[in-house]
């Protein structure tokens, strides 16, 4: 289990990194290495070139302005998790990130790496899909912003072009009074989720659900929004009945077939329970507008 041969470059600027990225046929990015290096050690990846971003300081930033928490791709997961300004604006980020692996992995792993890696069981991609986050990609030809809904295409596959780098990940802040919750189940502490679900809940003046957002990870080839359940919740009275019904509607989102971690049938059951649970907790945290 030793990495294969590759060419290595460690640019000191983003511009330099983009230049190499453009020049290489087959490059991968070494960010925190917490997913890439296992892949190399198993020799599941055999890239021509590894672009090490550790020296590109301009990508390790956290900026909370304009209703967005803008996180540079090379920001360590642990750094964002512990960022108080981000927590104040969107506490769901911390609650979700605590499910990612173990602190020792999060202190090396980056936000950009997790998102670009696009494991369908990953928490951050799910969170971005839930919150309608945005991803900024840059190449030597320019920059574009990709809505999270369009970014995750398949298992380990994103909308990034080979010559692009993911430079920034933007998490919208929560609305005042918006309730929130994330929960997942992994068989072993810190493992990738068998399934996970996140919810946000906005109530209207009458205490009914004005907007529910729901997303799941671990149940399909990408993180998924649970639109049918969201629809059903709009205008509903928050409570056991509605949440249970939403859970039932979520079952169909599961397209993952039986694997060694879980049967598809069980995953459906699990997801519906998790949805019920995150809605219940989000509702408890939601405050109607005064």
């Amino acid at each position: 289990m030793k990495p294969p041969c590759y060419e290595y470059v460690a640019p000191d600027t983003l511009a330099g990194a983009l230049r190499v990225r453009a020049e290489c046929e087959d490059s991968v990015v070494l960010a925190g290495g917490q997913s890439l290096v296992p892949t190399l050690n198993f020799r599941l990846a055999n890239p021509d070139t590894v672009i090490d971003l550790r020296r590109v300081a301009e990508l390790a930033t956290v900026d909370t302005r304009d209703g967005m928490i803008r996180v540079g791709a090379m920001t360590r997961q642990r750094t964002l998790e512990r960022n108080e300004a981000a927590f104040a604006r969107n506490p769901l980020i911390r609650e979700t990130m605590e499910y990612i692996a173990h602190p020792v992995i999060r202190s090396r792993g980056t936000i950009g790496g997790s998102v670009a890696h696009a494991d369908p069981a990953s928490e951050l991609p799910c969170l971005l899909v839930l919150l309608d986050g945005e991803l900024t990609a840059r190449s030597s030809r320019g920059e574009r912003t990709i809505p999270a809904a369009d970014f995750f295409e398949f298992v380990f596959t994103t909308a990034l072009e080979p010559e692009e780098l993911l430079v920034e990940v933007a998490f919208p802040v929560l609305e005042p009074g918006e309730g929130w919750a994330f929960r997942e189940f992994a068989r072993r502490h810190g493992d990738f989720a068998v399934a996970g679900a996140g919810a946000t809940l906005l109530l209207d003046d009458a205490g009914r659900i004005a907007r529910a957002r729901l997303a799941a990870c671990g149940v399909a080839t990408t993180p998924v929004r649970l639109r049918a359940a969201e629809e059903a919740l709009r205008g509903a009275e928050p409570g056991t009945e509605a949440f249970r019904a939403a859970g039932e509607l979520a079952r169909d989102a599961v397209t993952t077939v039986d694997d060694t971690a879980a049967s598809a049938d069980y995953r459906r059951h699990l997801l519906s329970g998790l949805v019920n649970d995150v809605l219940t907790r989000a509702a408890a945290r939601a405050r109607g507008p005064r």
């Binding site: 990495p3 041969c5 072993r188 493992d191 049967s263 049938d265 069980y266 699990l270 329970g273 998790l274």
Partner: protein
């Protein structure tokens, strides 16, 4: 008197190096100029190699050699069947490197030696291998059916071995029964997953013609025997050393593995030290597995729950080869009646070849399966007869005054009939009930059920035949300058703390501190009589050998000191590193002096030695310096051979809550009562039990190797094969009972495997109990999983 070390919580001698990063595992040895190996392995389960080309691999810079079977000469033979048995009708063992046929994914096909492991792996990937892929059947039940694809073309129905054992008169028992319970249960495949994978390094000394092999093995003496015969070298020219070994649990005793042949072979061939360290992905497809058995068990009972007879027919999956013989199946078959009197037993098994990694003993060795079968059946019987689960066990226990209790014609792994030597089963169960506070638990369960929570209690009573012979030995020598005692045995340790336990035994006899006893094991260059570390036998067999040797060393020291002090040997006491005449502790000599003086010298090569030279004032002036029949120095070797296995036992229980959403389990309490006879060091015993339970938890709920229908392992990584972290292992409440074994001087029974054996049943019966109010079907298979629990819950809903 100094305090007795036997039975004390002495801190471990081995820890000093292991906590400072100075452990010496095979991969840590600084071998000058060492080359690194890597294997090319079969990618298919059952296939015929049509094309094998190593050209590109050989051409890679940094590669020294690439070996295939054709390069092995005399070594290109099938590996030994280590434990032959007449019932093995079709023994098949593996070649070091595959010929045309491959039999499981991961089988070694070629071996690359290169400057470093990176290059060796590069080269292994450049080896071109094409196969004709043959059909496979990985489920042993289907593999044994007519028409199933054959692993070995000439082995009908894939049956490697078939054994029938009858003890008492089972037909009469079943005829006389009021009630018969029948169930089928299954335990799935698993792997020991020691934290250190396999590892071998070797050096050939062309000058002396000596081969030194460092190997992460549980059986250096056995490996030395195998290598010297395979390589056609004198035994004294082959030295096998097992340095620090990072966990064993059974599979590190299948010798020789391919690496144990190829590494020394390459070292000899290339005249350079060579090493190979298995990586984790190889470990899953190379190191042997265990566990898959399917039991059809029947109990014949009276209406008040007394079991008169037992029939068990089971299939044992032996993988693609059977290098270790029927050991796992045999142990399962002989422990099938557990702690119960059951006077009539009919047990039959078939060992079935499947195109998978070969199966050999892994901690528990068939006992977890047998325990699961008998204890599931006892629970079922209790349910059918409406008798409490604790009570039905009590009604069937062998009583303390019935020991020794023999099961005639049921032959254990040592070739002797099963004879349980001692036990207080009733007391153990009572101790468990007390610790659990059963009334409180039942109230808690009521309460939980009223709230719709799923809370269940499970229990399992196990017995374990431990301490198998044939024998072990020990050598003790006093160092003439330091007076420290050096102890050697033929065993190895993989974490069991021999360096401390043996030291305690010796310390008690010769009056030194345990830290002044230096134990060196696992080196055939130091001591090469004995067998190996397996089957919970080290403390029983080696421990007693060390004791016998220590008694003998004590006598030698007392005699020598008596001579020096002009006293009667019977009046000599040993304490604090000194020998003195009883009652006059000022009249004494140090053990160093005793050691020095008992070796008459001519040359004073150091200060201490002066005292033993011929003109020293203390020199013996008359008679032979070394009287007839005397040996120089204080050095003794003694051996211990047990009459037969000694039977440890215990009972575990767990209170488990099942989460209806996640279908996960939460072990709220785990209580373990066990009896391994006298404990040398309770701290070490607790560690063994706790580690065993953790491994048992893996086998109960987390760790299941899954082959797909093509014979490819689907979860060959630590990401997917779920070895528990601290979060998945419960805190264990432990209660020790000490019923001395009547069979050996120290009264010891083994404890190495105890923790693992009952856990599958404990969790299964707890989950079953938790789900029973919903009408869920019984649990018949481990490992359980959330998916499996979900299935049980769904069936409950359907039937409700």
């Amino acid at each position: 008197m100094s305090t007795r070390q036997f039975g004390a919580r002495v801190q471990r001698n081995e820890d000093a190096r292991l906590i400072t990063g100075r452990g010496r595992f095979v991969d840590d040895l600084p071998l000058d100029g060492v080359l690194h190996g890597a294997f090319a392995r079969s990618a298919v389960a059952r296939g015929r190699i049509t094309h094998l080309d190593t050209t590109a691999a050989r051409a890679l810079p940094g590669v020294h050699r690439v070996y295939t079977h054709a390069d092995l000469g005399e070594l290109d033979v099938t590996m030994p069947l280590l434990i032959p048995h007449p019932c093995i009708g079709h023994p098949r063992t593996q070649y070091p490197l595959a010929h045309e046929d491959v039999y499981h994914v991961g089988q070694a096909i070629a071996f690359v030696v290169a400057d470093d492991r990176y290059i060796a792996e590069d080269a292994a990937r450049l080896i071109e291998i094409d196969y004709d892929i043959l059909p496979v059947e990985v489920d042993p039940a289907k593999a044994a059916l007519d028409g199933a694809p054959l692993v070995h073309e000439d082995v009908p129905n894939n049956i490697a071995a078939h054994l029938v054992q009858v003890s008492g008169d089972p037909d009469a028992a079943f005829a006389a029964a009021d009630h018969v319970t029948r169930i089928q249960v299954r335990v799935d495949r698993s792997t020991a997953a020691p934290m250190e994978c396999l590892s071998t390094a070797a050096r050939w000394d062309a000058v002396s013609g000596e081969l030194t092999v460092w190997d992460g093995t549980q059986a250096p003496i056995g490996l030395r025997g195998a290598l010297s015969s395979l390589f056609d070298l004198d035994e004294d020219k082959v030295r096998v050393v097992a340095p620090d070994v990072g966990g064993g649990f059974g599979p590190k005793i299948v010798f020789p593995y391919s690496n144990e042949i190829l590494v020394p072979f390459a070292a000899k061939d290339l005249r350079r030290p060579v090493k190979w360290v298995e990586d984790r992905s190889e470990n899953f497809v190379h190191m042997t597995h265990e566990r898959t058995q399917i039991h059809d068990i029947e109990l014949a009972a009276t209406s008040d729950g007394v079991v008169l007879g037992l029939r068990d027919t089971f299939l044992h999956d032996t993988g693609s080869f059977i290098p270790y013989g029927i050991a796992v199946a045999q142990v399962a078959s002989t422990q099938i009646a557990g702690p119960y009197r059951i006077p009539a037993i009919h047990v039959t098994f078939d060992c079935v070849y499947t195109p998978t990694v070969p199966v050999t003993p892994y901690r528990g060795c068939g006992r977890p399966q047998a325990n699961f079968a008998i204890e599931r059946a006892m629970d079922q019987l209790a349910a059918e007869l409406g008798i409490d689960r604790f009570e039905i066990r009590r009604r069937n226990f062998i009583a303390p005054d019935e020991f020794p209790y023999t099961r005639p014609d049921l032959v254990f792994a040592d070739g002797l009939p099963v004879t349980l030597d001692s036990g207080r089963y009733d007391d153990a169960l009572a101790a468990l009930e007390k610790a659990l506070d059963l009334d409180a638990i039942r109230a808690e369960q009521e309460q939980a059920r009223a709230e719709g929570r799923l809370l269940g209690l499970g229990l399992s009573f196990y017995v374990e035949g431990t301490g198998l012979g044939p024998y072990e030995g020990a050598k003790i020598r006093l160092h003439p300058i330091t007076g420290k005692a050096y102890v050697n045995t033929g065993l190895t340790a993989q974490g069991q703390g021999h360096e401390t336990a043996w030291a305690q035994i010796v310390a008690d006899q010769i009056g030194v501190r345990p830290e002044d006893v230096i134990v060196v094991e696992g080196d055939t260059g130091v001591f090469d009589w004995g067998v190996a570390t397996f089957a919970s036998r080290a403390a029983v067999v080696s421990g007693n050998a060390v004791h016998v040797a220590a008694v003998s060393a004590r006598a030698r020291i007392a005699q020598a000191a008596a001579n020096m002090l002009e006293a009667d040997p019977d009046d000599i006491e040993l304490e604090n590193g000194r020998a003195f005449v009883r009652g006059t502790s000022s009249r004494g000599v140090t053990l160093a002096e005793v050691a020095t003086m008992s070796n008459p010298l001519r040359y004073a090569f150091n200060k201490a030695a002066q005292t033993a030279t011929q003109f020293a004032p203390t020199a013996r002036s008359t008679g032979k310096p070394l009287p007839d029949g005397e040996r120089p120095g204080i050095e003794v070797s003694e051996y211990y051979s047990p009459p037969h296995a000694t039977w440890a036992y215990g009972v575990h229980a767990a209170l488990v809550e099942v989460d209806p959403v996640t279908c996960d389990i939460d072990v709220k309490r785990y209580v373990c009562v066990h009896d391994c006879g006298n404990m040398i060091n309770p701290m070490i015993v607790e560690g063994q039990v706790a580690g065993g339970v953790a491994q048992g938890m893996g086998g109960a709920f987390y760790e299941k190797l899954e082959y797909d229908e093509n014979g490819v392992l689907r979860n060959a990584s630590f990401m997917d094969f779920l070895v528990p972290y601290a979060t998945e292992v419960p805190h264990i409440e432990m209660i020790h009972m000490e019923t001395p074994s009547p069979l050996n001087p120290l009264g010891i029974k083994g404890v190495g495997e105890a923790g693992t054996i009952p856990v599958g049943q404990v969790i299964a019966s707890a989950v079953e109990d938790a789900l029973s109010p919903l009408g869920a079907p019984p649990v018949r298979q481990v490992p359980l999983s959330p998916s499996a629990i979900h299935d049980l819950l769904r069936e409950a809903r359907v039937s409700a």
